[in-house]
Structure formats: C-alpha cells, structure tokens
C-alpha cells in the first residue's frame, strides 16, 4: 500500500460542537476513480475540502506520497498545486479570460515560461472542447462551459490527483452531460480522480471504488458493482432506492 497516491486515516472534522466527519479513512491508488456518494449534509464535500486543506481537519492524518499533509508547517500551496480541484460553483477567475485562467497557475505557481504554459493550456482546452473560447471571460460562458474550463485549468497544472466537488450540481440537466463526458474521458485516460457526486449513473459506470457516507461516517464502501448491485447496509439500500425511483 506504500504506492498509494493518497491515504486518509481516521479523519474527523467538527464545526463547533457539530461533528461533520468521524473517523473517515480512504486509500487512493494511482488511476483509481473513487466516488463519494451520500445525501446532502453527510459530509462529502467537507471530506474533499479537508483533503486539499481548504478545511483544516480536526483530527486524523492525510498522507500524500508518504508525506503527512496534516503535519504542522506543511507547505500547503505546493501540495495543492499537485492536487487539482474542481468546484461546484466553478470558481473561475472573473478578472481573466479563459486562456489566462488556464495560464496563471502554470506561470505563477509552477513558474513555467509563457510558451510552454500556453501549449499546455491549449492542449487541455482543446480536450474539453473550449479552445474556441480562449478570449471569452467567465461571465460570458454557460455553466457547462465554465465547468469545462475549470477542468482544463485544473488539468493544466498536471495534478497527480483531481478532486471533483459536485461538479454538475449547479448545472441544468442539458449541461450535465457535456461535463460528465469530459470526466468520462479523463477517467478513461487513467487520471486519478476523487469525485463527490449525486450522479449515480456516473459513479456506477466510471468508478472502481465507491464510498457511501452517512452522517459523517463511512456507512459502506466497495466496488461499484458491490455498492450499486448488492448493497449490504439498510441505509445504503434506502439511499439508492430513492435515487433509482427518480
């Protein structure tokens, strides 16, 4: 297991007296696509945000290639540069064009030169089908387009693992497809992904590991076939039944 990209051990997070996550553990190996499912408020997003330190875990360990991320004095910015994140609300930089959004991290954080950064940005924008829009500003794009740019921005950093925090939840149904297509394609290319999602079909088809969180606890985890085909826990069955009934 020493070759895992990311290992989370007994992660807990409290906001005040409210316990959001309790003893959550997870191992992510290279090329894994892990989906985290569960109802709203179950702690899925908080878990993901703890992983790249947007939230500080209350206790537990996060280990990235053997380095303890949660250790005091850890260099969070250079760690985050290797762990991409795609947000529910896109969070594209509103003061920059599409192209600049994909360049700024490369030039300022990775200190790459303009030419290389531009080639990299164009490659990924091409891949998500947003290359024609390099001169547009985020406010001029649709939600699905914004999210595809956000994915290209994350990819341009060449992260070792990509976190998705409900990437399609803010999109209308027509646009969900275009973003899921991109994610499908990425998963197929061997990208290591950790996806918090309400898209059960996507989780079932794409992930090789599924974690069902309930009230801040890992209620059940296993392969996609196990969780969706033959869930063991009553709570998991209830949750999935409600989704399938939709």
């Amino acid at each position: 297991m020493s070759h895992s990209v990311l290992e989370v051990k007994n992660l807990s997070k409290t906001f005040g007296t409210h316990l959001v996550l309790q003893d959550v553990s997870l191992t992510v190996n290279p090329g894994d696509v892990t989906s985290i499912i569960g109802s709203s408020g179950s702690g899925k997003s908080t878990f993901l945000r703890c992983i790249n330190l947007l939230e500080t875990p209350t206790s537990g360990q996060i280990i990235f290639h053997g380095d303890e991320v949660t250790a005091p004095g850890f260099d969070a910015p250079s760690y985050r540069a290797k762990v991409g994140m795609v947000f529910q609300s896109f969070n594209l930089f509103n003061n920059m064009t599409v192209l600049d959004n994909c360049l700024v991290g490369q030039t300022k954080v990775l200190k790459k030169d303009k030419k290389d950064a531009q080639d990299m940005a164009m490659m990924y924008l091409e891949r998500v089908g947003m290359a024609p829009y390099i001169n547009a500003r985020p406010s001029q794009l649709s939600g699905g387009q914004k999210q595809r740019v956000a994915i290209a921005r994350a990819l341009a950093m060449e992260p070792e693992i990509l976190l998705f925090d409900e990437p399609t939840s803010a999109l209308d149904p027509e646009m969900v497809g275009e973003v899921l297509d991109v994610m499908h394609d990425l998963a197929g290319s061997g990208m290591t992904m950790l996806v918090v999602t309400h898209e059960m079909a996507f989780a079932r088809d794409v992930s090789n590991h599924v974690v069902f969180l309930s009230d801040g606890l890992v209620c059940e985890e296993g392969s996609a076939e196990e969780i969706f085909g033959n869930p063991q826990q009553e709570r998991t069955r209830e949750f999935l039944a409600r989704y399938m009934a939709r």
Partner: protein
C-alpha cells in the same frame, strides 16, 4: 451689467492666477488621490489578511493591524484642515522646513489613504469566497492570490469610490489655503482681499470647481467602462490554424501590455 463687468474685470486682471490655482488644485487632488490609493491598498490589504494561526507572526500581525487601525481612526476622525495645520506646523516645530507642496501632498495623501483603506477592505470582502478558494486550489499563496485574482477585481469594484474620493479631494483641498497652499480657493481669497469683489469672484470660483468636478465625473465613467473589458469576444476556430493564432495573438498582445 455691473456683475458681468466685475466678472470680466476679474478675468482680465487675474484670469491666469485663477487658472494656476485651478491647476494646483487639480494636481494636488490627483497626486493625493493616487498616493492615497496606494496607501489605501497597502493598509486595506493588510487589514483583510487572515491572521496566521500560530505564535510570533500572529502577535506581530496583531500589532501591525492595531497601528494601522489607529492611523485610519485618527485621520478619518479629524478634519483635514486641522491635520494640515498639525502636520505642516508640526514639522516646522520639529525644525524641519517642508515645502508647501510637500505638506499639501502629504496631508491629502494620508487623509485619502485612511478612507481608501476601509474602501479597499470592503472591496476585498465583496469578492466571492470562491475566488480565493479557486486560487488556493491551484497552489497560489495568499500573496499571489491577492495580486493576481482578488485585488484586480476589488479595484474594479471600488472605482466609483476612488472617483468619489478624487472629486472630494478636488473640493476639499480648498482647506489647504490654511497653510498658504496656492490652490483655487487661495487665489479667490487673495483676489477679493485686494478688490472686495466677493460675490463675482465666488461665482467664478464656483464655476471653475464645478467644471473640474464634472469633467472628472465624465473621465471616471469612461475609465470604469474601459475597466469592464470587452462586451464581446471572438470565437477562435481551432481547426483553422490562422484563426487560432490570431486568437492567441490577441492574448499575447494583452500580455505584452501588462
């Protein structure tokens, strides 16, 4: 008829003095606002920086913030006319011999800076938290986030307030006559001191101030529109290499301008 004759008399006799005064007023307001904005950005940015979680740095930041807070409260809470006397004659008292322009710019700058600090802090707070998180998530440090993402957006949001401050400064630099700064109002005072044409000179002075502020308003609006960026964008057809390079060419031109 007498009124028009008086006005014409003032213009023919002292016209160039009024223009010089107006020029000094504008220059003082402009320099004071620019330096004030720089002070405001520095102070406001420090005030909006989250405190480090641990030890020595946190204490240091607290002290720095306390001092800056004191600066803001003192210069926002006292009249600029009193600040002018306090600083200008204060320097003389301490054996310095500041030039009038130096004192004038100093007073207007630090007074504007105190207001701008709060404006900038408000501008930073108005930026969606997602912008900070987006920047953090690609590995930017706090300073990189501020410089590349937050402050450019905050600047755009506070342009109307910068304009406000500039227009206030055009008018309020009139109090600098107290330290014998030769602004427009000082000219008015010295002219009426010799010919007692209080009302005609006041009308002329009012008209010049109003012209300056109205022109400023128009220019500020133009700047605001310019900062809003293009309303349209070109679709770049990536199958067509010529179109693609022209798209990149525009992006490169923008970079070169920076």
């Amino acid at each position: 008829m007498k009124f028009i004759n008086d006005i014409l008399k003032i213009i023919t006799e002292y016209g160039s003095s009024y223009l010089t005064g107006a020029g000094n007023t504008l220059l003082l307001a402009l320099i004071g606002t620019v330096i004030g904005c720089i002070i405001g950005f520095a102070v406001g940015t420090v005030q909006a920086t989250p405190l480090p979680e641990k030890g020595g740095k946190r204490v240091l930041m607290r002290i720095v913030r306390g001092i800056l807070r004191g600066y803001v409260e003192i210069f926002r809470g006292t009249p600029m006319i009193v600040q002018a006397v306090f600083i200008h004659y204060g320097m003389f008292y301490m054996g310095l011999k500041p030039a009038i322009w130096f004192s004038g710019i100093l007073v207007v700058s630090i007074n504007t800076g105190a207001y701008m600090a709060e404006t900038v802090r408000g501008g930073i707070m108005s930026i969606d938290q997602g912008q900070f998180e987006g920047a953090k998530a690609i590995g930017m440090t706090h300073n990189q986030t501020m410089i590349n993402v937050i402050l450019p957006q905050a600047l755009r949001n506070i342009i109307p307030q910068i304009g406000n401050n500039f227009i206030i400064n055009v008018k309020d630099t009139a109090v600098m006559s107290i330290i014998a700064f030769m602004d427009l109002f000082s000219i008015h005072k010295s002219v009426v001191g010799s010919n007692y044409l209080y009302f005609p000179s006041a009308v002329l002075t009012m008209a010049i101030y109003l012209t300056m502020t109205l022109v400023s308003s128009v220019l500020l609006r133009w700047w605001e529109d310019k900062m809003a960026g293009d309303a349209n964008y070109d679709i770049v057809n990536t199958k067509d290499t010529l179109a693609q390079t022209s798209g990149l060419y525009r992006a490169k031109k923008k970079e070169a301008k920076r």
